[in-house]
Amino acid sequence: MRLRWALADGWTITLRDLKHWAAQPWQIVFGLLFSVMLVLMFGYLFGGAIEVPGGGDYREFLLPGMFATTMLFGLEATYTAVTTDADRGVTDRFRAMPIAGSAVVVGRATADMLNSLLTLAAMVACGLAVGWRWHEGIGAALGAFGLLLLLRFALLWLGIWLALVLRSPEALMALQVLVWPLGFLSNVYVSPETMPGWLGALAEWNPLSATVGAARELFGNPGWGGDSWVAQHTTLMAVAWPALLVAIFFPLSVRAYQRLSR
């Protein structure tokens, strides 16, 4: 009974976000346009300057990285939604109502995952339009999409935890400043092997690199390869990293939520 209500309440809160989309369609459209713009910008502006390993098509190489970067940027959406509710007192209203705290979180998570699914679909459509393809069959491609969404799911908890701990919509700027280097300090645009040793190691161990490497492999797109252990085990790491992030930040988020009553 309690579980049923938690799910029903979670869905009510998800519906609230879906209604936001309906009320502000332009926000969704601009969000998608931003992603499309990134693809076009990197695909056509920088494309000529970067040599793709194995001499493949640059956009074939680029798209898996763009997919993963978009999942990373989703962190900001989660952060903004949670801090805005806390700031406006909506979180307090939920907490003073007879609903489970888990319902609020499940609702948030479902809405964010649906949003990410939509964004990913738009990116894929855009990728197909500029010549990106998957080559290893639909099963492997679905596996790659699954890994991308798994990364988003793991970062969701990081976003919720940061929002509950920092509690400040203004700190979003700081978060954006930190998210960009995380996106670039990876194998998305350049090979970690061309970076100074320690930086390259950092980039290879970046959770984003693991997902990107695994997605390239599953899509059959060209990648950097590499001899290091992480570079050889991207699929394993693309599961292990998100699992680790969830294992750390899910309990931390629950604890931060409970600490609101301190």
Binding site: W5, A8, D9, T12, I13, L15, R16, K19, H20, A23, Q24, D87, R88, G89, V90, D92, R93, F94, R95, A96, M97, P98, I99, L260, S261, R262
Partner: protein, 314 residues
């Protein structure tokens, strides 16, 4: 516990680090009344409300709301309370009706019942015309009324209003006051925190004055006013030179030393026998040739009560 008490608090303690926010806070609120919790910023009003609304855990003491212990039976308490905080805690993007339906669904009303309740509340708070409009285009008073409506979906036994008119213009304030009065007519118990004395005076049947985390004075607004010396006689003289003369006259009639305010040329003193004091004052002032611009009997304002009680405690 006495069944006519909607809120019963004994010795609540809460500290943030070294600083006590509640320091032996006691409170009894009778069912069906508006109780004002009055105090300056930082007195502990919001902390008290957050503990009673199950948002914050107290370090010590006991609090019963609608008969249930806030720390041991928070779920029961949450089914019986409404909370209006200092911000209008509603979704800015959604319309007023969508907000109320969403909260209604979260209170586990059926789809149709949530819609009916939303329409009823929109009507009642004069928001029916703005039902579909996004809340971010509402005025401050409209938001606060929507916030109130959202707190009343389940017809709560106890409603907490934490500074409900802070930041509103006079028109918005009147709208909220009218809404609160209507609630009480329905039998809802209201605990109202405010730093505006006229607000407590207007709405509350009993007031507790809070300072440094504990109640330093309590009673009906009239009792509180009487406690600092009953009625006051104010005399405004035409010329500065007459101030001392007027003070001497009032001193003979009053229980205490008159207060003299040279800026407004006003002499003020507490008096016991209202009418006798007034007629005597008029007679003596005229006899001594003191030109009077204004003379009046009045109750002390809650500001005077407030300053007096918090001074003693501080």
């Amino acid at each position: 516990m006495a069944s006519d008490l909607a809120v019963q608090v004994e010795g609540l303690h809460k500290r943030y680090g070294e600083k006590p926010a509640l320091d032996g806070f006691d409170l009894d609120v009778r069912a069906g009344t508006v109780h004002g919790l009055l105090g300056p910023n930082g007195a502990g009003k919001t902390t008290a409300v957050r503990v009673l609304a199950t948002l914050l855990r107290a370090d010590g003491g006991r609090a019963l709301v609608a008969g249930y212990d806030v720390s041991r039976q928070p779920a029961h308490v949450r089914e019986r309370i409404g909370l209006v905080g200092q911000h209008a805690a509603v979704d800015e993007v959604l319309g007023g009706r969508d907000n109320l339906v969403m909260f209604g669904r979260l209170f586990h009303l059926g789809k149709r019942e949530a819609g009916r309740r939303a329409d009823h509340l929109l009507e009642r708070f004069g928001l029916a015309d703005a039902a579909g409009k996004p809340v971010k285009r509402y005025s401050g008073g409209m938001r606060r009324r929507l916030d109130l409506a959202a707190s009343l979906i389940l017809r709560p036994a106890v409603l907490f209003l934490d500074e409900p008119t802070t930041g509103l213009d006079p028109r918005g304030r009147n709208e909220v006051w009218a809404a609160v009065r209507a609630l009480v007519a329905d039998g809802t118990t209201v605990l109202l925190t405010t730093q505006y004395l006229d607000e407590a005076d207007q709405l509350a049947s009993r007031i507790s004055v809070l300072d440094h985390g504990r109640v330093v004075a309590g009673g009906t607004p009239d009792e509180l006013k009487s406690r600092i010396g009953g009625d006051r006689l104010d005399v405004v003289v035409r010329a500065d030179a007459d101030l001392a003369g007027a003070a001497a006259v009032l001193k003979g009639l009053a229980d205490a030393e008159p207060e003299v305010d040279p800026d407004s040329r006003r002499v003020s003193a507490p008096v016991r026998d209202r009418v006798a004091a007034l007629t005597e004052a008029v007679r003596i002032l005229a006899a001594r040739g003191i030109a009077v611009e204004d003379i009046a009997l009045r109750r002390p304002t809650l500001d005077e009560v407030f300053l007096r009680t918090t001074e003693v405690a501080g």
